[in-house]
């Protein structure tokens, strides 16, 4: 021991000697330096102080120092040392993952978390509160000024005036210690469970209860500070979150249903089942269907509330879809609905293959024929569910955090009277831009940019003249295609200027005037029907290039349909028509990438009943009805407050876009599941739902003249079938289509049409010999004529069908049905 000590002291001495020498060298450079003894002593004392501080931090520092929140912050009350919190009054405990105040009486309880909100940061605090029988008040204190947390704070709380009456109160403590009420709002929500949200901005705050804005724009008297929980009487607090509130201006409601208007249901696309507007409600009338769904394709949403009011007509099983990767499929979507099997409400999600995973359920009284409201708060990473204002699920993890919304019924029929979606405040009020594509695993989805509900600025009407419509024969686009050549004189080329300054220049067609709306030039030589028209153009100045089509006149815009860039901003496309008096009526618009000075292609596919719009080969909107009343006519070019150069104009058949041969499922890049559960891999499409019903996979191809074939293998059941559905009017529904399919387990084949109510009307059938379960089915389609081949044997020839073009899909009846070697050759 002595040796060790001696050796240690010797080492210490040698260190001091080295330091001494170093300091002596330094003193030679800095003559005024104090003596080594002084310097070393001072250094030694500083070391002592340093060691003392380190020891303090290591040994006795609190495990939760008073610091600033790291946002986002979530407190689930699972592992909290309440001793570290500033609990001034009341008795606070942690029980079963909740924070509880358990003392009654006249004195309120408060506890504050020892964290401060960053100075000058706009933030959002939320907490779930459960009122107990004896709860008199419960809520949050915020902007509490540490350390004077109680006397200097804002406070918002739910107050129970009497057993039936609740109100929301907000205010602050003044310098005399009195609580000053800034707002007092009755709460009509009949529940004991609440979500309280407080949004604090620079100098004001707003309060939401259960997603509804109750108090807004109240001035702040205290700057950012601490947040705490407040209760007078026992109360339970759960899942407390603080995030930055990035949006200084919480948006208004984003979507409200128009089911009570004529026509109603704009933007809603049936996925399966029978959906229609009836009695001012969106009704699904097929009570046999499992998961009959409809999607809203116009917008996608993130961080929002979705609410629907509905009544069951038959059975029980209505509900909501939300965060749908595609409005045309339930795959990947979240679901909340009444169970069709038990008296309960279930929630969960569909995976990419359409397999449903239930995340939870709650027993509920039978829905019967009463009106109910289902509501979902879809947040950043979780969602809450309310049934008739009662919270039935809280903080359920989200698998898909944003997407489209929809309605669903399962083995029931229901009427939805009202649907609305609006943002959770603090989130962006704009619907999520989806032009780059929302997620849809397995099935590639053509991205659909969101369309807002705001009316596009109406184009100023052109000069109204007496209508003298030109009556011409319209030709099918496919039979008489047109390619514009911009040389020579406009009139020789068949173009007529209605207004504006149009000219051929450098092989292009140019409009140079920027000071007016809807300058138009019309191609007068041919009127078209069932066509697609494509233009290529660039903006030189302004924004407003577009297409006129189905024009009944060549000298005016009255009756014409139009689609063009908005002249107000270059990141929106508008579409609509001019009425008989030449006044523009907007049918919709969508946000798109900025046009800038880049070249773009705009294409309209005009079918019998509706038209679709593509921008740069991306589908903007489909199945827009002809509100103008004209489904054929002349076409033209239009600009509005823009200088535009058109370098391409071409008209062809409806299927011209899709012309070509598709020999694998991978080739159908825009395929989508309409109904059923489809697995697509190894160039095979398999529909797996065994229940006997029609299940459709849309190839995403629409055409009017083509051959489609596939090797179809049916299961051993005696009632299964498989085939094709053609000439579908809508991509997401088999209504208004024509089907050809094997039936009775392959013992026969039949064909016929499905009307717009979804009812099948058979046109013909034929038995098939043999007991094999694998068949090759081929259809030759030329406009409204169809021929059918099974195993290369002609079954029927030149069948007349009612429509001439449309989407093409695979059809399964029951399952599992396997489609292999799918081949589609599109002429037009």
């Amino acid at each position: 021991m002595k040796q060790i000590l001696k050796s240690f002291l010797q080492k210490l001495q040698s260190i001091f000697v080295k330091f001494d020498a170093m300091l002596n060298r330094l003193r030679m450079k800095i003559p005024g330096l104090p003596s080594n003894k002084v310097l070393l002593s001072a250094a030694g004392l500083l070391v002592v102080a340093g060691v003392l501080f380190v020891a303090l931090q290591v040994l006795v520092a609190p495990d939760q120092p008073v610091t600033t929140y790291t946002l986002p912050y979530t407190q689930n009350f699972d592992d909290v040392n309440l001793k570290r919190w500033f609990s001034q009054t009341g008795v606070w405990t942690i029980r079963t993952g909740t924070l509880q105040q358990s003392v009654g009486g006249e004195e309120s309880g408060q506890v504050h978390i020892p964290l401060k909100v960053p100075e000058d940061a706009a933030y959002h605090a939320s907490v779930f509160i459960t009122l107990k029988k004896d709860t008199r008040q419960a809520g949050l204190s915020f902007n509490a000024q540490y350390p004077e947390l109680l006397p200097k704070q804002h406070r918002v709380y739910i107050s129970r005036i009497n057993p039936e009456t609740l109100e929301l109160v907000a205010g602050y403590m003044d310098e005399t210690g009195a609580f000053i009420t800034q707002a007092q709002v009755p709460l009509t929500i009949n529940t004991t469970e609440f979500r309280l949200d407080v949004y604090v901005y620079g100098n004001s705050y707003l309060v939401q209860v259960n997603g509804q804005r109750m108090i807004e724009n109240r001035p702040l008297y205290y700057k950012n500070g601490m947040i705490g929980f407040y209760a007078l009487g026992p109360a339970v607090f759960d899942t407390y979150k603080v995030t930055l509130a990035e949006n200084q201006n919480p948006g208004d409601m984003v979507y409200t249903s128009d089911f009570d208007q004529e026509p109603g249901g704009a933007g809603w696309v049936p996925i399966s089942g029978t959906w229609q507007i009836a009695s001012k409600q969106m009704m699904q009338s097929d009570a046999i269907f499992v998961d009959a769904a409809i999607g809203y394709e116009t917008s996608t949403f993130e961080n929002y509330t979705l609410r629907a009011t509905f009544t069951h007509v038959d059975g029980q099983g209505a509900g909501l879809l939300f965060n749908m990767p595609s409005p045309y499929s339930i795959n990947g979507a979240h679901l909340v609905r009444y169970s069709n099997e038990t008296d309960s409400v279930i929630w969960g999600y569909y995976d990419a293959q359409g397999v449903f995973t239930r995340q939870g359920f709650v027993d509920a009284s039978p829905a019967d024929k009463e009106t109910h409201t289902l509501q979902v708060f879809s947040g950043a990473d979780s969602y809450d569910v309310f049934l008739d204002d009662d919270m039935i699920a809280r903080d359920v993890p989200l698998v898909s955090i944003q997407g489209a919304v929809g309605l669903i019924t399962s083995r029931s029929s229901a009427a939805f009277s009202y649907v609305e979606a609006f943002p959770l405040f603090g989130a962006t009020s704009d619907p999520v831009a989806a032009l780059t594509g929302t997620q849809q695993p397995q099935v590639t989805n053509t991205p659909v940019p969101q369309a807002t509900q705001t009316q596009a600025p109406a184009a100023e009407p052109t000069k109204v003249v007496a209508a003298t419509p030109v009556t011409v024969e319209a030709v099918d686009g496919g039979s008489s295609p047109y390619v514009g050549v911009f040389d020579g004189k406009l009139s020789d080329a068949g173009w007529r200027i209605i207004n504006g300054d149009w000219k051929f220049a450098n092989g292009n067609f140019e409009q140079v005037k920027v000071d007016g709306f809807d300058y138009a030039a019309v191609y007068t030589k041919t009127a078209f029907q069932n066509f697609s028209i494509q233009t290529g153009f660039s903006h030189v100045e302004g924004s407003g290039a577009g297409i006129l089509f189905n024009m009944p006149n060549t000298d005016r815009l009255a009756g014409a349909s139009m689609v063009r860039y908005s002249d107000k901003r270059d990141n929106a496309i508008v579409w609509g028509y001019f009425d008989a008096t030449g006044v523009y009526k907007n049918q919709g618009y969508a946000d798109v990438p900025n046009a800038g000075a880049d070249r773009h292609t705009l294409r309209v596919v005009s079918g019998e009943k509706s038209y679709s719009i593509y921008l740069d080969d991306r589908l903007i909107v489909q199945a827009v009805p002809y509100e103008s009343g004209y489904s054929m006519g002349y076409f033209g070019l239009v600009t509005s407050r823009a200088h535009v150069i058109y370098d391409e104009v071409a008209v062809d058949g409806v299927g011209a876009v899709f012309k070509g041969t598709y020999e694998s499922m991978d080739g159908f890049t825009d395929q989508r599941i309409v109904s059923g559960k489809w697995t697509i891999e190894n160039n095979q499409a398999v529909q797996t739902v065994v229940d006997v019903s029609d299940y459709v996979l849309n190839t995403g191809i629409q055409a009017s003249e083509y051959t489609v074939s596939a090797k179809i293998t049916l299961p051993e059941t005696s009632d299964s079938g498989g085939g094709f559905v053609i000439h579908m009017n809508e991509r997401g529904s088999k209504n208004n289509s024509y089907i050809v399919r094997l039936k009775d387990g392959g013992k026969g084949i039949w064909w016929g049409s499905i009307n717009d109510e979804g009812n099948f009307k058979g046109q013909g059938s034929s038995p098939i010999a043999g007991t094999d379960k694998t068949f090759t089915l081929r259809l030759d389609v030329k406009l409204d004529v169809l021929s059918i081949y099974v195993n290369d044997v002609e079954i029927a020839r030149n069948i007349a069908i009612s429509s001439q073009e449309g989407w093409i899909g695979l059809l399964s009846y029951g399952g599992p049905v396997i489609f292999e070697d799918v081949k589609l050759e599109v002429e037009k």
């Binding site: 003392l52 303090l56 609190p62 120092p65």
Partner: protein, 388 residues
């Protein structure tokens, strides 16, 4: 066998004898008299150790166990300085994690160290006879059982006296080391900085009563030019408190939290005069009960120590006198309730008493009074009756 020097034997004997009295009285009091139920039992396995952990001990144990915490408006443990509980925490590993045992050992060991330095300092100031008496007066003072309890008194006494001793020896480096540690033990430890400055001034020929003389300042200036670096060293003493203040700032954003929480104990700064006046009035008008007796002893000893101040000034110098005054006035600005414990740290007063004890009658009076009261107070203390 070589005889141990007096600065070892005298303090050691005083320590042993006083502790025997205290422990004996404690055991007697704890065994023979009933204790009120519901009090904190510091060590379930050792009633003996539990005797020496009362009242404020809980805070030191809490700090050593859970670290510091601060709740505005509540009696938070940030009111207590860190060195003592940190020592408990660090040394507890040698005692199987038993904080009460550790605190007990730390208190007693540092008390012995304090007695040794007190002997040396007093010998320096007044000679060895006075040093011997001073040590005994301190060891047998009526509240000297606090030196064995889980309290900071012993550590503070040890560090503060050591600081002063080294300052008197003009070993400024060591004075500063002990001064920093003193300042980290209790809030009034910062006074050692002032005491060291005063000693430095004195060492340069400066005296308060001679401030009107030019030579005083000239001498001081010369001394400053030669020895300014010693002032630099001394000026680092407040680091002990500043480190704690910085720690409070970092962890609670309240650098002066230890002051802010005083109000949670009902302490209202009204000034020592008002407090004394109120206490005396209470004595005159109140009836004799536990509270009255506590107040009586506190007021009596307070006035006695106050009366010592001019004598200390005369005999030992203004520095010591001002030190005692401040140590009296600061705690009594809000309450006189624990004065009889705070007096333990006012070592110049014990030095003064020791000087008076040259007279045998005075010496015997002090010894008898102190020892008797010590025995009584121990019995009271171990039964959870508030002494100080």
């Amino acid at each position: 066998m070589k005889r141990l020097p007096d600065w070892v034997t005298v303090p050691l004997l005083a320590f042993v004898l006083s502790r025997l009295l205290i422990f004996g009285a404690g055991i007697l009091g704890d065994t023979m008299l009933p204790t009120e139920e519901g009090h904190w039992v510091a060590d379930e396995n050792s009633p003996f150790l539990s005797m020496w952990a009362k009242w404020d001990s809980q805070y030191y144990v809490d700090i050593a166990t859970n670290g510091y915490w601060f709740r505005p408006g509540l009696q938070s443990n940030v009111a207590f300085f860190p060195l003592y509980p940190m020592s408990m925490q660090v040394l507890a590993k040698f005692f199987d994690g038993n904080l009460i045992m550790t605190g007990f050992v730390v208190s007693n060991v540092t008390f012995l160290g304090g007695l040794i330095f007190f002997y040396l300092l007093t010998e320096l100031e007044l000679g060895s006879d006075s040093a011997r008496r001073a040590v005994y007066y301190l060891a047998f003072f009526p509240t000297s059982f606090f030196f064995s309890a889980v309290y900071t008194e012993s550590m503070f006494v040890f560090l503060s006296i050591a600081t002063m001793y080294f300052a008197r020896k003009h070993q400024w480096m060591w004075a500063a080391v002990f001064g920093i540690l003193t300042a980290a033990t209790r809030n009034l430890g910062i006074l050692m900085w002032a005491l060291c400055i005063w000693e430095w001034l004195r060492s340069q020929g400066w005296a308060l009563l001679a401030v009107h003389k030019k030579e005083t300042w000239l001498s001081l200036w010369d001394g400053f030019k030669r020895n300014w670096f010693d002032l630099v060293i001394i000026s680092l003493i407040p680091l002990g408190m500043l480190v704690f203040i910085y720690f409070l700032k970092v962890n609670f954003d309240r650098p002066l939290a230890f002051i802010e929480v005083q109000s949670a104990w009902g302490r209202e700064n009204v000034g020592p005069v008002a407090v004394l006046q109120k206490s005396i009035t209470g004595l005159l008008e109140g009836e004799v009960n536990k509270g009255w007796l506590t107040r009586f002893w506190n007021v009596s000893f307070y006035l006695f120590f106050l009366a010592l101040v001019p004598f200390i000034w005369y005999r030992l110098g203004e520095g010591y006198a001002i030190f005692v005054l401040i140590m009296l006035f600061v705690p009594s600005a809000s309450s006189i309730g624990s004065i009889i414990r705070y007096l333990l740290t006012q070592f110049p007063a014990f030095m003064m008493m020791a000087w008076w004890g040259r007279d045998d009658r005075v010496d015997r009076a002090f010894n008898f009074t102190f020892a008797t009261l010590l025995g009584v107070f121990v019995v009271v203390f171990v039964n959870w009756i508030f002494v100080a």
